[in-house]
Symmetry: C2
Subunit: 802 residues, 2 copies
Amino acid sequence: MANVAKKVSWSGRDPRDDEDERAGETTPLLNGTGPGSAGGARQFTPSSFLRPGQLSNVDLNEDIRELETELPRPYPNEIPHNEKLLSLKYESLDYDNSENQLFLEEERRINHAAFRTVEIKRWVICAMIGILTGLVACFIDIVVENLAGLKYRVVKDNIDKFTEKGGLSFSLLLWATLNASVVMVGSVIVAFIEPVAAGSGIPQIKCYLNGVKIPHVVRLKTLVIKVCGVILSVVGGLAVGKEGPMIHSGAVIAAGISQGRSTSLKRDFKIFEYFRRDTEKRDFVSAGAAAGVSAAFGAPVGGVLFSLEEGASFWNQFLTWRIFFASMISTFTLNSVLSVYHGNAWDLSSPGLINFGRFDSEKMGYTIQEIPIFIFMGVVGGILGALFNALNYWLTMFRIRYIHRPCLQVIEAMLVAAVTAAVGFVMIYCSRDCQPIQGSSVAYPLQLFCADGEYNSMATAFFNTPEKSVVNLFHDPPGSYNPMTLGMFTLMYFFLACWTYGLTVSAGVFIPSLLIGAAWGRLFGISLSYLSKGSIWADPGKYALMGAAAQLGGIVRMTLSLTVIMMEATGNVTYGFPIMLVLMTAKIVGDYFVEGLYDMHIQLQSVPFLHWEAPVTSHSLTAREVMSTPVTCLRRIERVGTVVDILSDTSSNHNGFPVVESNPNTTQVAGLRGLILRSQLIVLLKHKVFVERANLNLVQRRLKLKDFRDAYPRFPPIQSIHVSQDERECMIDLSEFMNPSPYTVPREASLPRVFKLFRALGLRHLVVVNNHNEVVGMVTRKDLARYRLGKEGLEELSLAQT
Amino acid sequence: MANVAKKVSWSGRDPRDDEDERAGETTPLLNGTGPGSAGGARQFTPSSFLRPGQLSNVDLNEDIRELETELPRPYPNEIPHNEKLLSLKYESLDYDNSENQLFLEEERRINHAAFRTVEIKRWVICAMIGILTGLVACFIDIVVENLAGLKYRVVKDNIDKFTEKGGLSFSLLLWATLNASVVMVGSVIVAFIEPVAAGSGIPQIKCYLNGVKIPHVVRLKTLVIKVCGVILSVVGGLAVGKEGPMIHSGAVIAAGISQGRSTSLKRDFKIFEYFRRDTEKRDFVSAGAAAGVSAAFGAPVGGVLFSLEEGASFWNQFLTWRIFFASMISTFTLNSVLSVYHGNAWDLSSPGLINFGRFDSEKMGYTIQEIPIFIFMGVVGGILGALFNALNYWLTMFRIRYIHRPCLQVIEAMLVAAVTAAVGFVMIYCSRDCQPIQGSSVAYPLQLFCADGEYNSMATAFFNTPEKSVVNLFHDPPGSYNPMTLGMFTLMYFFLACWTYGLTVSAGVFIPSLLIGAAWGRLFGISLSYLSKGSIWADPGKYALMGAAAQLGGIVRMTLSLTVIMMEATGNVTYGFPIMLVLMTAKIVGDYFVEGLYDMHIQLQSVPFLHWEAPVTSHSLTAREVMSTPVTCLRRIERVGTVVDILSDTSSNHNGFPVVESNPNTTQVAGLRGLILRSQLIVLLKHKVFVERANLNLVQRRLKLKDFRDAYPRFPPIQSIHVSQDERECMIDLSEFMNPSPYTVPREASLPRVFKLFRALGLRHLVVVNNHNEVVGMVTRKDLARYRLGKEGLEELSLAQT
């Protein structure tokens, strides 16, 4: 009877579906089979599957063997990468508490006062997250400023020396080498030590908050590499920003602090043990991400909204309030430290890494007639953003196919750095746009071929950190820029930024996008001024702002949070309305062509990401079609050997197992009794929580919740647990450890209904039952993420082990 | 077999619980029985209850009768009102779509393009909500301004005439009479025409968004009365604001527009029919409330957060984005119209009804040393807020007990108006605080006993609309106010505002709270200035701002949304951090003493309001204890007579009925098959959707979803539907209309788990099943709202029909 627990993968699918698939890819609904799964297995009727007394196990196993030999594997092991694929390698986070007896006993022991202590701890953790995130932002800012200043001085001295001698090619060489070597270091640490630290980290954090476990994403090592990497990228003169990585940094800090220990450093501070589970950790990671946004843009409300937009499945007032607290503390810390560092203590005027400066409503107010113009800019931003994303898509596909070895990645990064320097140099050389030094707030004036008392404005644009360039574009008085310079700069920077995003360096895309947008926006403003003979549209600064919003919106497609971030960064509520319109237009136009950059990268990674709602046209699907079947079930009192075998089955690698009634003497229907997780089973096996079959009446060893928490989050693999042959014959009683009330849906529930339940509660496993409460299937994240709204209606992604 | 559907109320409870209750109120868990319910009924075991073949109905009915005669009714029919009570008179909204066959068929017919049309309609509705809400706000603002100006001129002329003659008592009489009569009109329309328009409407909207149907709350009549009422209250010189009612107005506008018809006006525009259900309507009402906040305070982001904080159970990105859109449109409309009205078109400088004016960070910046002072102000605000709420609590209890007749209510409102005028007059008379007219921005300078070229500042404080007084307190230069005047004013206004809130007039508490806080805050700032000999703390304006935040936070206890509203109203992000600290402190301190004002009023109305989370110590309860039992079930093919009887049973008045397997020939267990709502049954009966018992094979009449939508939201009562004796013997097939996949929980699920499912999905009925999927109980809003965290741990409220 031990074989009631079937070793059939529930990611294996109905063979009829496989036939559909072979019949051609033109059918709108494709059911894919993972190449690593046990092949398709015939769908068993629920009753034959779950009535132990009537079940012929021999038939069953033969069935499977037959299918395994018969069916050709529908896909080769290595699948050419495409976006119509869902990877099975990502595990899900479990935001649903396993309310087993142990948990309930603990919760019942805790009285009201103790709960208050827990609550206070939560606030303390949030304050710490805010402070540390703010400090990390300060650190990045100060180090970048100093290193960039150093680099500028070296290059400037060199250029000054060689300008007269005509040996400018040597200056170029020095500049390019300097940049390339700095970027090389930044790229090497990312490529060889922690590849997950590449990029802005926003897609990864989106996935984490969505419930997908991206390996290593919230580890201390990642934080260190990320911080060093971003400093080196920015100093290396790449077209990148340091804001995106702050969000990732904040998330890592939050994950670390909230657990009260560092697994990497092997230090356990024995604090905050209550928070060692996915539910709590996710809440803190939300706070960390918000604190990161807040530190990056001085936008605490925007940070909260970012976290909510990306992560929250269930809005909770207290949680949001704590997230806001962390955000506020973070921007306040950054503000205080930077104000002290800059010598004017208590000034509190730099709330974020980037500050758009003050937009005075009197000087730069807009009128209602300008709104159509802003909307037109939104359209332009949407188109340019879509172009950016499309180019980046092809580039990323190319990278995935050909540049997957770390050393190649480093070489590409160095190449980009050198090219960036070269392009900059050539453009500086070609453009003779000289501006008077007086009255301008340029940090690094480069005279080059200009007259004394003047500086080369193109050189400024390339030498400044991108943040400063953005602010200059917003606030420099009319006439500061030559339209030709601006145009060339926009064009070059557009392609450079596009090439840069996706390199194996830590870097964000926010600032480059803003810079591109600000540049063409200002250009647009100048043209308008020309056209209207400089009437009311005198100040091109506000067009630079709208252009920046349009371009950023067109690339990342964020909505509410981005509006609020822009509003907070400009410190002006009046601009809210046009910014919203611009972002909305850019999103609508951009979405018409191609997805947002982050979503695109998430999809290129084949992450099973769940959007807010099920595809609108998916009402025709029900849980019956969506669910994976058959399901590996365990009995309430199960043989240890069976458990070990199931857990060791690499072809299935399930993480949750429904527990069914185990009395073998009854002919009654065996209904669902609970759900147990792989991690729980592993802890049970590790602690030898089982009794001999003969002594079933003996009480098995008691475990505490602490044993589970200590093992969290890196549960050992089953292979590391030795179970002797004698022990295999023991019995394990799961009643105490299983979740006795897993969420279930009937087979008739429509996909949107299943989706809503799954998403709203942050589930990992959803058991599908028939009318008699017997398990007939299981819905997991992959089953839901497979369905997507394509150009021609609902489409289904294939599953792959890659 | 027709009696399988039991007519026993499931709000009747286990008699053992009643015994517990009689044993004394010292047990922490009291199980209450509603006086109107059918008395306690013995808890039937699930098997005896749901196995039709084995069930002895005679026993059952006798059991009940016996209990009814034996048991004394534990409560009298009229219960002295107290806050430990939950009213049964409120129905719930149903945010869970009934995914029956009709619905699924419709959804399946709709293709992708049609869904896009629906989506566009949603945006159009949101734009209309924003525009109309903005226009209503403009209307209120303009009318109030004109009427207040008129009143001021009349009174001023009179005072000027009588000041020299010494006949000031006549002026007082005129003033008091004028105010009292205006308020009388405002009170009469509220008390006699639409009592739900009383107050600020925020508690009502909170309840609606929470899922409680407050009768008449989103009707057109309510809107008209509300708008007229608030104008009259403000003009009548009461200590009230016009901001709170804007939120209610926005919500009504949203509910009206989104349905494309007005039931009151009997006009159906045949548009937006798709949105005629609770789920969609609620989403729009959220947008309307946000638009209201946005128009009131010029705070679009604050509006969104308000809606989310109060209403959202499930955050949805698109929804939030639409809400934001409505908010933005609303503030933009208000801004445009008012700017045109004030003559400086396209200035866009009045985004809300109240605008705190510009807080220049340079002039009014704060330093880090001031933060402890701000926190101290938060403590003061918390204490004063708690005092306000406690006083208002006693007042409200008094009103509920003694002032429940409309004419008494009108008289009280007139009394308050007269007293407000008298107090103002006496204070103006007593205080001789004269200020020079030049350089001050006073709209209504009253010379009174002051020298020429001067005005009486106390008179200004009482004559200005409260909004203007608040702004003056924030921005008047140091030295504008005599501390004595401020102190007296604070004291008087505090008691007047407290007395005013809860009167039968439409009026908000936001502005009075801000005014009280600004007054004592400024006083505090002046004192600090004296103490520190006027060093850095020269400007008392920022203390006025912090005081206003502290007082408002202490009274209403809103958190994130209030912070953002204050930030947006000041137009200054830098103040965010101290405002957050102040609000947080005020909330913590205030919560120590007494609840927030809105929550208090919700509780005094005995509304079954669900908070964000189950009480922290409720893990010891499971669905078994929480659920109501036994449940009235229907069979899938049910006798019409049985249905009519069940629906007519006034003692139970259920709204949802589980549908169970109906085959009477089987001895097998009858599992849950679906859930059907009272409203659906009523539509079925109305359209005579049934067949004769002999012709069961005939197809019964088909209904369309439209039939249900046309009846929404005012379904006729069962009494209005005539069913003949012959028809009673017909059979009705519910399969097509029931929701075949209702959410269920097992009996073992803990209360927090049940609560989370219920709250996250916005459910109205949650079926509790046993291991065989048989219905054993039902959890509704009342069952969950009963449990509350009191001072001594978990407590249970009693249920009452009041």
